[in-house]
Each structure stands twice: as structure tokens, then as C-alpha cells.
Symmetry: D3
Subunit: 333 residues, 6 copies
């Protein structure tokens, strides 16, 4: 099989096929709701609660549509679809009138995927959904976390223990799913409700890099910090698209001028290829505020890089097994 840009088409066999043919799936992946034989499940978590102005429950559909524009090999030359079996497995069910039920349903959905041995790269939905994803996915917890966001998301919860888009990460830490000392929050910026909103990070040994510190460190310096913090252990990536500057991400609930450019975030993500990435998510795309689809397009490209990093890690683990097996075999001689 070969492919070509001539006419914005894929070649399937010797047949040129437009990228605009067929149902919208994440990154043109095949649709496999039966979850059979998958390494990386691309999944939607289409719920949000009525916080802010957002409508992130509509995000997965728009990200699927805009990912028609993403070609299957990354700019850096990584071909995740050659490294792994990747499929769009559809969306978690949600109960729009019952937030708690929706969280349960998402947890079950991801659990079912993880039970097959696959991992997940998900699209939200509001950022609260990172909690059920991690809960369903992480088995030998706690994992490291690379957290892109305009906001710390470790707010105290005024709603009696319920996960919201402002406290998912805190709950994941308190449940022992995420290791705070292996957590780094990148790109924090924007105006603030309270002056103490970064205290939880400080109190729990979490690393917080504001956009201003990033400007000083640069991409490379920031990547060094990331590597220092998360180390070699298994690590999850979560991206709230409001970490991006507003020209890239007006289509979100809380747009905050002054965030990352796509060039910056793509270089940061590409710099994570050597890490042991176990999956990730891109959250808070709110299509009604994204009339030209740019936020969803950026989310699709970010998803692509997370998938690439995850696929490389899977591939490395396989090779280690093979190496180990080879070593064992030769040792057995």
C-alpha cells in the first residue's frame, strides 16, 4: 500500500480515495466497537456538566470530524498505525441527567477496554472525565502524570466529593492512582479565582510550570524538568485544550489568553517519545464555540502525538520482552 498527497487522497490499493469519504473516526482509524485485537483504543467520553459556558460533551464528534485532516504519519516520521493495532472503539454511554451515573459509566467503559489488554487515548468531554479514565485504566497504580492545563485543577470540592473538571487530578491523587511526586503541570496561566489555587501542588510535591516559567526554560529546559519529574515509570498524559493560547482554542469552556502555541506543545509532546507513556487524553473541546473547527483540529493533532508516544512505548516494551526472551533463551543454552 502506498499513499499520496496528490489530491488530498489516500491510496487504498491502487485506488485514490478522498479523505472525505466514509464515517468520521478518530485519525481515520477503523471502527471496532467489539474491542477485539486492539493495542490502543481511541475512545470518546462525551459528557460534561453545566459548568461555565462549555459543551464539551459534543467534543468527540467534532474531533473525529476534524481528524479527517490529520495524515497517519506524524511530522517527526512516527507511524503509529504501523507500530500498533489502533481502532476507534466509539464512546462511553452517559446519562445526561445524572453526573454520578455518567462517571460510573465512563469508568466501566474504560475498564472493559483495559480488560482486553488495550490502553486508551481518549477525547472528552469535560476534564473531570480524566478521573474515571485513570480509574478504569490504571491497575498497578500510582502512575506519573504529565498535565497540560491553564488551571491547576486541584481545587477543593464544594460539592461533596463529586469529581468535576476542577478537581479530577486531586481525586486521582487522593485515590492513589496518580503519584503527586511524579506529576508535572505545564502551561498554567490565566486569571484566578483564589490566590491559594497552587497550594495543593506545593503541599504535595507536585511540579507546576507556569507559562512564564516555560518562557524562561524553553522547550528543552521544560522537557528536562518533565523527564526529571516523571522518570522512567509508567506515565499518563492529560491535555486540557485551554492550555493553548486562545487563537488555537477559543472552542473551550474557559479560554485563557497567553497559553502555549501549537508549535510549542507539539515539540513538548514529541520530546516525550522516550518516556513510558501508557495512554492519555485531550479534553474540553467545546464545538459550539469552535465554529471553524480549529480547536478540534488542534486536539486531533495533539491526540495524534499522544498516540505516537503511546505506540512507541508499547513497541519498546515488546522489544524488551523479545530481548528478555532472547537473553533468557540464550541463557538457557
Amino acid at each position: 500500500m502506498s499513499a499520496s498527497d496528490a489530491g488530498g487522497v489516500h491510496l487504498v490499493g491502487d485506488q485514490a480515495v478522498s479523505r472525505f469519504v466514509g464515517l468520521s473516526t478518530f485519525l481515520h482509524a477503523p471502527y471496532q466497537p467489539d474491542l477485539q485485537g486492539i493495542d490502543i483504543a481511541l475512545a470518546g467520553i462525551p459528557y460534561d456538566f453545566q459548568s461555565g459556558r462549555g459543551s464539551a460533551r459534543l467534543g468527540p464528534s467534532q474531533v473525529r470530524e476534524m481528524s479527517r485532516l490529520v495524515r497517519q504519519i506524524t511530522m517527526g516520521g512516527v507511524a503509529p498505525f504501523e507500530l500498533c493495532r489502533i481502532a476507534d472503539v466509539g464512546d462511553s454511554a452517559t446519562n445526561p441527567m445524572d453526573p454520578r451515573k455518567s462517571v460510573e459509566l465512563a469508568t466501566e467503559f474504560v475498564t472493559r477496554i483495559a480488560d482486553t489488554g488495550a490502553t486508551v487515548v481518549a477525547v472528552g468531554g469535560d476534564h473531570g472525565a480524566t478521573y474515571p479514565i485513570l480509574k478504569g485504566l490504571v491497575r498497578n497504580g500510582p502512575v506519573g502524570l504529565i498535565h497540560f492545563d491553564a488551571h491547576p485543577d486541584t481545587y477543593d470540592d464544594p460539592f461533596g466529593g463529586f469529581v468535576t473538571h476542577g478537581n479530577a487530578i486531586r481525586l486521582a491523587i487522593e485515590d492513589g492512582i496518580v503519584d503527586p511526586t511524579r506529576t508535572i503541570s505545564l502551561g498554567i496561566h490565566g486569571s484566578r479565582f483564589i490566590k491559594t489555587d497552587r497550594d495543593y501542588h506545593a503541599d504535595h510535591g507536585m511540579r507546576l510550570v507556569t507559562i512564564d516559567e516555560f518562557t524562561q526554560l524553553g522547550v528543552e529546559g521544560t522537557l528536562e524538568e518533565v523527564r526529571r519529574v516523571v522518570g522512567e515509570g509508567p506515565t499518563y498524559i492529560t491535555v486540557d485544550v485551554d492550555v493553548l493560547d486562545t487563537p488555537f482554542a477559543m472552542g473551550t469552556g474557559s479560554p485563557e489568553p497567553g497559553g502555549f502555541s501549537m508549535r510549542e506543545i507539539l515539540n513538548l509532546l514529541r520530546g516525550m517519545h522516550g518516556l513510558d507513556i501508557i495512554g492519555g487524553d485531550v479534553m474540553e473541546v467545546a464545538p459550539p464555540f469552535d465554529s471553524d473547527g480549529q480547536t478540534a483540529l488542534c486536539a486531533a493533532n495533539i491526540m495524534h502525538e499522544i498516540v505516537a508516544a503511546t505506540a512507541l512505548a508499547i513497541d519498546r516494551r515488546r522489544e524488551s520482552l523479545v530481548d528478555a526472551a532472547t537473553t533468557a533463551a540464550s541463557g538457557a543454552q
Copy 2:
């Protein structure tokens, strides 16, 4: 299984599920690219040629997305999904650089569907695609045709025999697929390139009802004309969305102020329930000009009514067979 409007959800079993969960398919139909066990195949024909300003090749994807808003029972109480097995079978392949190849691919795609015994309700794509659809679908031709359009679409062809959005109907007649004397064009309006653009209709015994004549006849009078012209034989419905007035259909290549309202066209379509409808199509939705999705939403509702009419006809044919069988059986006694 029951369902409810409370919260804009479907009940699947006892579980409330949002209409915004899952991949976009036509009318929430299940996705069945394998074509197995289907009575009515909902299909996209995503090509257009660079005529006018349109980008109708993007139409099927947008109609799928907006059909999330269509509930499965029509306003008139017809439940096509209870009457028939209906599935979204995906899109025809297209070769964007080779119009003639795209027409061939569409013909083959519909032929393959028709070979299974299913019929087609299609979404375009430009109106030229009605020709390959009819070619693939009609086996014991010629059929009657109910044609909604702002323009007559029986232009002479200055391009050497190639099907375009301006001559598909003419070619279908010349190929003996459509019976001109059982053809009625409804809603013709808008400014004109040439004064003789209605002559082909007159010369071939085709009935042409301008929007002004419709205003005089009313819905009921127009339906009488439709019934008189197409009679009881098999009849195909083709709708160019530019037949609608511009507030409903700016999202098309040639919007023409002064067309049908949705209330009018829905009543016309509902009035066709007793006819022997064998399938149909909705064409020329051009999403880049349809920023709020209204044109696609109207197309999805029109598709729903064509599906309903087709399902009722299928159901009637089955009952006739049963009746005939019963009669035969009782005659055999």
C-alpha cells in the same frame, strides 16, 4: 425498549443515553458496511465537481452529524425503523481527480447494494450523482421520478457526454432509466441562464411545476398532480436542497431565494406515502456554506421522510406478497 425526550436521550434498555454519544450515522442507524440483511441502505456519495461555489462532497458527513437531532419516528407517526431493516452502509469511494472514475465508483457502489436486494436512500454529493445511483439501482426501468429542484437540470451538455449536476436527469431519461412522462419537477424557481431551459421538459412530456404554480395549486393540488403523473408504478424521489428557500438552504452551491419552506416540502413528502417509492436521494448540501448546520438538518429531515415513504412501500409490497400467498394458499385448498 422504550425511549423518552427527557433530557434529549434515548433509553437503551433501562439506560438513558444521550443522542450525542457515538459515531455520527444517518438517522442514528447502525453502521453496517458489510451490507448484510438490510432493506434500506443509507449511503453517502461524497463527490462534487468544481462547479459553482459548492463543496457538496462534504455533504454526507455533515448530514450524518446533524441527523443526531432527528428522532426515529416521523411527525406523522411513521416508524421506519420498525417497518424495515435500515443501516448506514458508508460512502461510495471517489477519485477526486477523475470525475468519470468517481461516477463509475458510485455506480458500482449502488449496484453492489442493489445486488443484495436492498434499496438506497442516498445523500450527495452533487446532483450529478443521481445518475449513477439510478443506474445502479433501477433494474426493470424506466421508473417514475419526483424531482424537487430550483432548476430544471435537463440542460444540454457542453462537456461531451459527461454527467454533471445540470444534466443528470436528462441523461437518466436518455438511458431509459427514467420515464419522462412519469416525471414531475417541483419548485422550479430562481434566475436563469437561458430562456429555453424548460424546453426539454415540454418536448418530452415532463411535468414542471414552478414555485408560482405551486403557490396557486397549494399542497393538496400539487399532490394531485404528482399522483396523476407518477401513478402507481415504481417511483424515485430526488431532492436538490436548493429547491428550499434560502433561509433553509444557504448551505448549497446555487441558493435561490423564493423556494419551498420546510413545512411545505415536508407536507408534500408526507403526501407521497401511498406511492410506490423505491428509494431516493437528497443532494447538494455544501457544509462550508452551512455554518449552523441548518441545511444539513433540513436534508436529514427530508431524508427521514423519504426513508419513511420507502419503508411504507416496502411494507406494502410485503403485505401484498403475503396476501397473494394467502390467496394462493387458500386457492390451493
Copy 3:
């Protein structure tokens, strides 16, 4: 004080002032959150639950903005601001994470208004909010109800007794706030989840006029039905903007092609001037889907007519009191 259209300005004293000066309030009404000395309180109920695609919680703000375009005298020559003291009293508090709390807060908010002797014309928010409004407003219930909607809104509730945008009217009836036999639903149209969705109406003596029956009855015939059903008793008007055809109301959660035009609904509302209107609401404006503000503009014009009808009724009641007092006085002589 005089006023002029020259330059789209108001004259305040001898000073021409643009309609674009100052904070946005409903219909240019003064802002009076202290609720003092008001006959008609214009109020926002900015909550919605995550049903469908809507974001109706943002509706009041957009309707305020677009009501800059509404002049203070209706087309028919009614000047409600001369007949009554009318003010914008702001919005109900809401708790975005707790639907039940939001309903309570809205009930308290309207109760506080009604306690001052004022009535309410409200803007939602989702249609579920009609329930707390009626609960706070109606003291000597049950009242008559004129209900404009694409959907019957008398669905059974799958969520354990909670008010949603699909069952507010049913709950109001079951609570004895609305008299089903003095209720008329106008403009029902659009596709349906279940065939039995109109049964509650039939079973409880409620009048339901579909858009097709309206087409047959015409404005005058429909008004006769309205007058016959609601009679001379106190009557509330509730308008779900999805009753409008989609060109007027794409900015809503469940747009349904084939509804009322604004000319039709304005004539219906003007025909209700003789009734004993006690207040009303306009619901389900979803600004993220209303990029040019047309839905909000239509809602503002509808609000204006409801305010006019309410003001006329208040004025008539006052005159009756004066007449009665005069009669009593003269009787006392």
C-alpha cells in the same frame, strides 16, 4: 419625553442617545434588583441541564443584548412601559452542579418577586424552569396555560421525579398549579421519540394543536380555540422557541424544521390581548448555536408581546377595581 428613529436613537429629554449605550437589560427596562415598586419583573433563569446540545443557561444574557433592537411600543401600538412599572430584576442564582438546588433557587427567586405583588415575564434557561416559575408565581391556582412548543413536554420522567425540559408542564399539572382542561399546546411538530407522546394530553383533556392543524385553522381559527379553552380565567403563556421554524430558531437545543413563522406567532400573541394573562416566559434560547442572534432577537420580540399582553391585563384589572370602587362609592352615596 419624545423619541425618534432618526439615527436609531432614543431621545432622553432633548438628548439623542443611541440604543447601544449602557448595560444590556431586557427591553431597555431599568435595572432594579431591589424589586421595589414593580408591576412586571423581567427576569432571567439561567440554568439548563446537559440534555441535548443546548446551552440555554446562556440565554438570558443574549436575549438582553438582542433586545437592544426592540423599540418600546409594539407594532400594534401597545406601550407597556406607559401602562405599568416594568424593570429588569436580574437573574435567579443557580448551582450549576446541582440541578435540584437550581430548581429550588429559581422557585425562591420567583416567590420573592411574587411576594412584592409583581408578576414575572421570564427568559430561560431550559424549559424545565417553567415549573419553578409557576410554582413561585401561582398562588390561587390552578391557572390556564397557553403553551407554544415543538414537543408536548408531558413525557413521563425516567429520572425519579425530577423536573426536566421534557416534563415541566406535566409536573405543574400534577401539582395542581396548571389546569389541564384550560391548557392548549400550539405548534407541535417535528420528529418523535415515541408514538404515545401525545397521550397524556388526550388523557387529561388538554388541547393539542399540531402545526398541520394550525395550517388548516389559520390564525383566527386557532385564536378561537385558544379563547374557548382558556376562557376568562388567569392564564400563563410559555413559549419554547423551538416552536418556531428553524430559520428563526436554530439557536436552540432541539431545532425542528416546519414550525411557526414569526409573523404567525406574533399575530397569535397579539390575538391574546383580551385574555387575563398573568405572566409568561420564553425558553430554550441557546446562544452558542445562534451566532447572528436571530433566535434571541425573536425571543426578545416574543417577550415584548407577552409583556404587552400582561400589561394590558394588569391595566384592565386596575380599571375594574376603579370601576368597582366608583360603583361602590356611588352606591354608598
Copy 4:
């Protein structure tokens, strides 16, 4: 020369040419700023004053762009470009900081056109520009006026004698350019600043048909009124696009729900073909509020019908001259 719809192209000679080639001109007319040899000059008057929210000074450019979609023969089969020499002559100069200067410049511009013997069909700009157009055009005054508008536009002037979009018609009457007894205002609707805004009409023998009276009279009854009022004398047509219902004309300074549909206004305009139309204008297209170009497209179609009516009248006058000459010639024999 022939032409075809196949591919949305014009044939120029034997060459198919897309409608999207070349500079935007009104109705694809040739650009002739030298004013030579023209019967009907299509002209822009790109000024507005900062009234309301409008930006009508940008109107001519957007109407030119959207008139790419108008074909040169009307729906009714009139071919104005065959009857007359028609050209786009460009725009009046304007001085954006000096309203009075802009009015002078527009008067001079139209005077220069009229001096060549041509007439004008103009696109605004705000409705105040009808005054300088009439002043430049009308030589043997007063003329009849057919006035489409949501508002009476005969307001008193609070700005010391200056023409605004609210008093152009009144000033034209007071200057003796327009005959009030041969003036009819059609489609008046929308909310009002003052109750006396229709008094000037009543006091000066002007006919005012509200949208409600139009609904009763119908198209034919209204046309009878038009013919009765303007008679056989020379008559100018002015259209404020806010006379249209908002789905057709949100792109204007004062959109008013409940106006004409395009089907209605096109039928009214076509019904004026027998009158002695001497030119006309379409005003108040405000492109920043017309994101999909629908208002400009409607304006272009309305312009097309006014041009057709004007061309027919010119043609009739020529034939009368020929007839008179023939008669004279034969009498001379």
C-alpha cells in the same frame, strides 16, 4: 452566444467560464466607470452614519460579490441585458467624517450619471442615500414612489435639517421630488419608537400598507393598490432590506421579525413590470451582520427585478417613440 448551467458556468463564445472568474460587479455587468453609452447605471452609495448597529457603507461590495450567484435572466424570463445597455459604474465617493459632504458627493455622482441620459439602480449604504439619489435623478419632478420598508421613514428630524435613514422620504417629499399622493409604503412592521410614527403618511395622503394588511390583501390585492396609487406616471422603487423577514435579512441595521418573505416580495416586484419604473435602489445591507451573505444575495435578486422592471419601461418608452415616429412618418406621407 449560448449559456448553460452545466457546471455553474457561462459560455462566452464556445468557452465555458465559471461564474467565479473576474472582479465582482453588480449582476456580472461590465465595469464602465466612464459612464459612456449606458441605459441603466448600477451604482453603489457606500456611506452610512453611525446610527444603530449598521455598517451599510460596506453593502455595495458584498452585494457585488453575492450577485455572482444571480443569472442574467429573471425567473419570469425577462432578459434586461438584452433589452438595455447596463453597466456597473462603481461607487460614489464619500467623506466618512463628514455626513453632509457625503450626501453632496452622492448627489453629484448621480447627477453626473443622469446627465448622460442614463438612469440608476443603486445599492446602499444607509436609507438616507435615497434622498441624494432622487435629487440627482429626478428632473421633471415629482415622481411616484413605491417604498418597501419595515419603518415609515418619515420621522421628524431632530438633527437640524439633515437627511438620515429615518427621514429621507419625508425630505424628498418636502423638496417636491416625490409626490406623496403617488407614494405607497409596503410591509411596515416591527416595534415602534412613537405611536405617531404613521401620522405623516396620513396627513399627506400617502398610502401605508402594514404587513398585516398585506396578509389580508394578498399579493394581487396589494398590487392593485400599488397600481391605483402610483398610476401611469414615472415611479421610483426604494427597498430597505429590513422590510424582509429576519431569516432573509439579519444583515441589516434594524432587523424586524415578521416581514416579507422573498417569494412575496419577488412576486410584488414582478407585478410592477407594467409600471413606468424610472430606477430604484436597495438599501441597508450591513455585511458584518450577514455572515453567510444571504441578505446581500436577496438584495442582489431584488436589484435584478428592479433592473428588469426598469429595462422593460425603457424598452416600452423606446417602442412608443418608434410608434410615434412611425405614425408621424406615415402621417407625413
Copy 5:
């Protein structure tokens, strides 16, 4: 009182309240048109003249709406609402048909505010309004000026002494309100009408930093220049949003690609915290060209930083007074 991001809400007492409740005011400030007890008055100047394509008179309303998304503490941790009494005082009256009158009205409006001892942070309106603001605000002669703009705004005036958006700063200098030697213009970029457009700066000792010089100096280097030029004296900040790059500010009359990013301008503004800022403005937001509200959102964030800088300066002045009083008191011992 505490607050939280959980659900995008404010806590008022123990009640979670959505940011979308209530009338739109600048930065959620209380509305106090009576001007009582205010340190910083947030004010709108809603006029523009018909220059360019802009409609900046609609700017204040859109900036109010988008400032719902701004939280009350800046990214840098400054809490202006804790430091000062801040209120939205509404808008200046304007006379849309009389530019000179509008300028007078704005001058009077700001004078009235300044008379109470408050200062102003204003939102325009076109950039000409900086002149009446400065005229009303500045009492003790020439102040320093930090001027963000794509254009020098010191054009000669072809309109006979009238203030326009191109000469406000020049007029303020010529009136002795602004000290040219304490003026710095930042971010000048974009194409130019005349080559001499920077001569006025050079001739009057004003500092002009083009975007290219900024690129070389960096944020810190530029701040040094700012501090050097304006020194310790009272200084006003004026921001024309066209200084921003177009992705942040298409919603303005003269968008010029190649300007500041929000990250850059926010860092510049934060770097001005130590200066004696006496107020400021943000001008030229043109909402009709800002369909997603991004320009208004950026303007709201810029306003927030100017308010913070102003509040810090007020606080410092108070402390100096206290210190002085303490010193005086201790000296008196």
C-alpha cells in the same frame, strides 16, 4: 467569602453561583451608575465615527459579556477588587449623528467621574475617545503615556481640528494633557498610508518602538525603555487592540498581521506594576468582526491588567500618605 473553579462558579457565601448569572458588567464589577464611593470607575465610551470598517461603538457591550470569563485575581496574583473599590459605572451618552457632540458628552462623563475623586479605566469606542477621556481625567497637566498601537495615531488632521481615531494622541499633546517626552508608543506595525507617519514622534521627542525593535529588545528590554521614558510621574495607558496580532484581534477596524501576542502584551503590562498608573483604556473592539468574542476577551484581560496596575498605584499612594502621616506623627512626638 471563598471561591472555587469547581464548575466555573463563584461562591457567594456558601452558595455556588455560575459566572453566567446576572447582567454583564466589566470584570463582574458591581453596577453603580451613581458613582458613589468608587476608586476606579470602569466605563464605556460607545461611539465611533464611520471610519474604516469598524463598529467600535458596540465594543463596550461585547467586552462586558466576554469579561464573564475573567476571574477577579490576575495570573500574577494581584487582587484589584481587594485593593480598591471598583465599579462599572455604565456608558457615556453619545449622539450618533453628531461626532462633536459625542466628544463633548464623553468629556463631561469622565469629568463627572473625576470630580468624585475616582479614576477611570475605559473601553471604547474608537481610539479618538482617548482624547475626551484624558481631557476629563487629567487635572494637573501633562501626564506620561504608554501607547500600544499598530499605528502612530499622530496624523495631521484633514478635517479641521476634529479628533479622530488617527489623531487623538496628537491633540492631547497639543492641548498640554500629555507630555510627548514621557510618551512611548509600542508595537507599531502594519502597512502605511504615508512614509512620514512617524515624523511627529521624532519631531516631538516621543519614543516609538516598532514590533521589529520589540523583537530585538525583548519584553525586559522594552520594559526598561518604558521605565526610562515615563519615569516615576503619573502615567496613562492606552491600548488600541489592533496592536495585537490578527489571530487575537480580527475584531477591530484595522487589523494588521504581525503584532503582539497576548503573552507578550500581558507580560509588558505586568511589568508596569511599579509605575504610577493613573488609569487607562482599551479601544477599537469591533464586535461585528469578532464572531467568537476573542478580541473582546483579550480586551477584557488587558483591562484587567490595567485595572490591577491602577489599583496597585492607588494602594501605593495611600501607603505613602499613611507613611507620611506616621512620619509626621512620630516627628510630632
Copy 6:
């Protein structure tokens, strides 16, 4: 003649004229379809083939409209309209149903221009049109090429030798029109169809600078590479707007996050002023995806800089001739 920014106007003589008056032409250039006496012809090539989602055939019209916002002197102070005779010569004819014919027509159109001795700065249309432009323009064999693009555009052609937007540069090289060793591609970024898509560059000695390499080199380092590669020979500039980052260029067929900012590309283009630029083009503006016109505005500014570079080169060549003549003359003494 002088000009001023006061009011966004041009002064023509002593008359202030708005930039919004008159037909839209590229950069306000006079319209001269007769091609007489022109040094630089600004031309549109309005065709595209149905690849991807683009509608670049509509690009020239939108770039003309948005170039109203570009003033005639560049930021750097170059006044091309003073250096050269520059005119808008209209568009190439195209045959929308026949790609090959459209390419021929474009070749002929440019040939006709080049025959007059003028050069071309063109606006597309899809990037395939660079091939016929070069074919019509280049007379004395291979020229240098500065190529801005997200993609290499040297794909192999699966369509039998036909020029598409993916292989124009390769065909120009294979035809000997472009010298690969004097070709530099700048800003390559975005996801990829095939890993070998940069091999043609490597194999033919073409220089390819990815966006990441640009980040390392900076503007100055990149310009050094440009100068090294193209040298002093005649050089053409071609810009695919998808080389820009998506906030500047969502209005294109293949938007790719992570490209150049306008500040970067403008500085690169200004750095090419000393080169022997012979013309250029800006391609792939797709107006239906560019609702606020930002992509077209950026294209107009880029066009302006290419025109400036071309005008400077023409001026230098003239001066060389004069110098040579002078030298020859003095040598002849």
C-alpha cells in the same frame, strides 16, 4: 497627492475617500484588463480541483476584498506603487469541468501578460496553478524558487502526468523551468502521508527547511540559507498559505497547526528585498473556511511584500541599465 489615516481614508486630491469605496481590486490597484503599460500585473487564477476540502477557486475574490485593508506603503517603507506601474488585470478564464483545459487557459493568460513585458504576482486558486504561471512567465530557462509550504509538493503523480496541488513544483523542475539546486522550501510541517515525501528534495539537491530547523536558525539564519541557495539569479516566490500557523490560515484546504506566524513570514519576505525577484504567487486561500477573512488578509499582506520585492528588483534592473548606459556613454567619450 497625499494620504492620511484619519478616518481610514485615502485623500485623492483634497478629497477624503473611504477605503471601502469602489470595486475590490488587489491592493487598491487600478483595474486594467487591457494589460497596457504595466510593470507588475496582479492576477487571479481562480481554479482548484476537488482535492481535500478546499475551494481555492474562490480565493482571488476574497483576497481582493480583504486587500482593502492594506495600505499602499509597506511597514518597512517600500512604496511599490511609486516604483512601478502596477495594475489588477483580472482573472484567468477557467473551465470548471476540465482541469486540463483550465491549466492551458492559465498558461495562455500568463503568457499574454509576459508577452507585454510585464511580470506577474498571482493569487490562486490551488497550488497546482504555480505550474502554468511559471510556464507562462519564465522565458530564459531555469529560475530559482523560494517555496513556502507546509508540504513538500514534490509528490509523485498517481494521475498520469497531470499537475495537481501536490506536484506542481516537481513538474516545473522536470520541465526545466525551475532549477532544483536553486530551490529552497521553507516551513515544512504537519503530519504526513508517506515517510518518503522529502526524498525528492534530497535526491535533487533541493534545500528543505522544516519549521523546527527554522526555529533553530531563526529569521536571520534562514535568510542566509535562502541567499546562499538562490544566489543572485532570477528567483520566483511561491507561498502556499498553509505554511502559516492555523490561527492565521484556517481558510485553506489543508490547515496544519505549527507553522509560521505572520511576524516571521513578513520578516523573511522583507529579508528578500535584495534578491532578484521576478514575480510570485500566494495560493490556497479557501474563503468558505475563512469566515472572518483573516487568511485572505494575511495573503493580501504577503502579496504586498512580494510585490514590493518584485518592484525593488525591477527598479534595480532599470538603474543597472541606466548605469550601464551611463558607463557606456562615458566610455564612448
